[in-house]
Amino acid sequence: MTIHLRELINRSLDDELSYVESRTLRAHLADCAECAALAADLRRADALLSGPDPRLPVPPFDAQRLRRGQLGWVGIATAAVFVLLVLAIVGATRDAAVVGSPASPSGTPAVLPTSPIPASATPERSFTPGPSTASPESRCSVAAVGSISVCPKMVPVGGLITIAVGACSNAGEPTVLFFGTAEQFGQPTQGTYGEAGLGSVGPSSGSSRVTLAVPSAVGAIDGRGGGPVRPGLYAVYSKPDLCRTYVSVQ
């Protein structure tokens, strides 16, 4: 095939052929299977590329956040990690007072516990797994509007997390949840690279929230990583790629 013909085919897709050129090309394509196949392929490329995309929900305009400049995702995530660290320190000083007693409306404990609790097990907003008269929601806010929420944000290996799914549930379908190292989302290397399925939540799975244990191991992604979950930053995310949040395994 000559370069001239390839150019003619491309120009025909751009609607740039003269009448004579267009007839020449048609006549040639009728005779040359190779050129006809190429023309068909390139026409298909244009059809695929110009196909409509579904309309996507646009995040609301947030002038303040935009004016803060180009903080970007990494910056926000770094800030979030920092906040988590601060919460851990605050938690270390407060959790002894929170765990073991139902949270009073003001958040201040009514009874002081008798034994110390490791700081890592409990963030400031405490959620204690196990039998309890108070519902987990009363101690751990997992409001989820347009997002996934995980509570608590810091858990020991094997600890329980409550996951609430907001508007990431898609058109009445259940949201399939995964747990994996945050590294795959561009966060600093922490924890074991890999991921594990967590099951599904949302409409038709009967509930918009689940409480489950942090998996003890994650599987490899593309042959990389996999193994026991080690302390580090992990992401809880839904598929298809609608929502994501982070949880710190201690």
Partner: protein
């Protein structure tokens, strides 16, 4: 400048445009955020009739850095699922677009998907009209080859 109105008028198209170059929706949302953060931080803002191409120009630059930076990332495979979930045609188009040179992917998308004329695309991309045409010609061939590779890979 009424940024909120500009955002409401242009963000849906820009998000769909950027979504073509990212594996995940939230990355496209981040790029949309970067686009408007850059626009609002610009020292000079064009008159309203040149606003749309100007925003696309910023979005194009944002997308190019994303495409160059995100290349070595492995494709996420959900190994916990058996068999692997089928990916739709739209995702396959995006994956093929991400695998060809970014300049070609952006040119094809601006003209064929966003409906810019070759001249407008040339202005947005900062190249000549001839440059747009040659990028489209090379891009079409690379794109369909990548797309067909994906098709074969999926049917195996």
């Amino acid at each position: 400048v009424d940024w909120q109105s500009l955002y409401e008028a242009n963000a849906p198209d820009l998000l769909r445009f950027l979504r073509r170059f990212t594996r995940e929706l939230h990355t496209a949302e981040d790029l949309l955020h970067d686009t408007f953060a850059r626009a609002m931080g610009a020292r000079r803002v064009p008159p309203s009739d040149e606003m749309r191409p100007w925003l696309y120009r910023i979005a194009t630059n944002v997308a190019i850095s994303q495409l160059r930076g995100s290349r070595p990332l492995p494709v996420l495979r959900f190994l916990t699922e058996q068999p692997s979930a089928p990916i739709g045609e739209a995702e396959q188009v995006r994956e093929a677009l991400r695998s060809i040179p970014p300049e070609q992917a952006l040119t094809l998308t601006l003209v064929l998907h966003e409906g810019f004329s070759r001249r407008e695309a040339a202005t947005i991309l900062g190249v000549s009209e001839e440059g747009v045409k040659s990028r489209m010609a090379r891009g079409r061939i690379n794109f369909i080859a990548a797309y067909q590779r994906l098709e074969r890979g999926l049917s195996r």
